[in-house]
Symmetry: C2
DNA sequence: GCAACATATACCCATATCGGTATGCGTCAA
DNA sequence: TTGACGCATACCGATATGGGTATATGTTGC
């Protein structure tokens, strides 16, 4: 089974640092493959492969421009990730306190759910 | 090389659906391993392994409670993810418009799809 | 058509990953 | 101490991944 397919899963797509770099770079504007590869120090095939993953999960869109293929950001797919993490927002401020209180609760009453 | 180690990388840690489930479940309160495994339909070793990954990136903390080991959420590590995706917030509202304008700028025509 | 260029894909390799089963280790109760 | 329980880890197998090189596909210009 190995890991779930990166395809069709935004969380997996952005798990790769270089793909995050690509997305970040595309915020500044659309770019053809070779340019992306150069700016990020990737080989052309390397860039193409990462772009394919991003394309398949819908985070980038491509269109032909003569010999080139220009990639542009389509960040809508990142929204679910932002919202998912946002669901933990109130926890990352006082994780410790919360943990302690829960621990104490558990100590005396083994309540599950 | 394969993928970058999941260890010490929160993005990778949450790329796995079951690990996200674990985190979500822990929002409701701390839990021992077996309980987590049961509620999520995982084998005990399976749960332990996912918990290990989460522990190594600091998303959960564990403490001994007799025979049991109770895991609790430490969501602080999710904040960077939330912020990173937040950096794209203004794009996912009008991705298309933005894309379109770029398209028009780059070459006066040509939008696929 | 042909050459040059841009990109995608095919392969191959080394490795990491998830899942399962078996097992080791620590803890508690009797 | 012994046995049951809770959990971690070792090990194995199947597969996916990232990276590199070679090559196929497609486009442009001559």
């Amino acid at each position: 089974m190995a890991r779930a397919a990166t395809t069709s899963d935004v969380f997996n797509a952005i798990a790769e640092p270089q793909r995050r770099d690509i997305l970040a770079l595309l915020r500044a504007g659309d770019r053809p493959v070779t340019e992306l590869a150069q700016e990020l120090g990737l080989t052309q095939p390397g860039a193409s492969k990462h772009l394919r993953v991003l394309r398949e999960v819908g985070l980038v869109r491509d269109r032909k421009a003569g010999k080139q293929r220009v990639y542009g950001l389509d960040a809508r797919g990142l929204r679910p990730v932002h919202e998912w993490t946002g669901g933990f927002e109130r926890f990352w401020n006082e994780s410790f306190d919360r943990l302690d209180s829960y621990v104490r609760e558990l100590e005396q009453t083994r309540q599950e759910e």
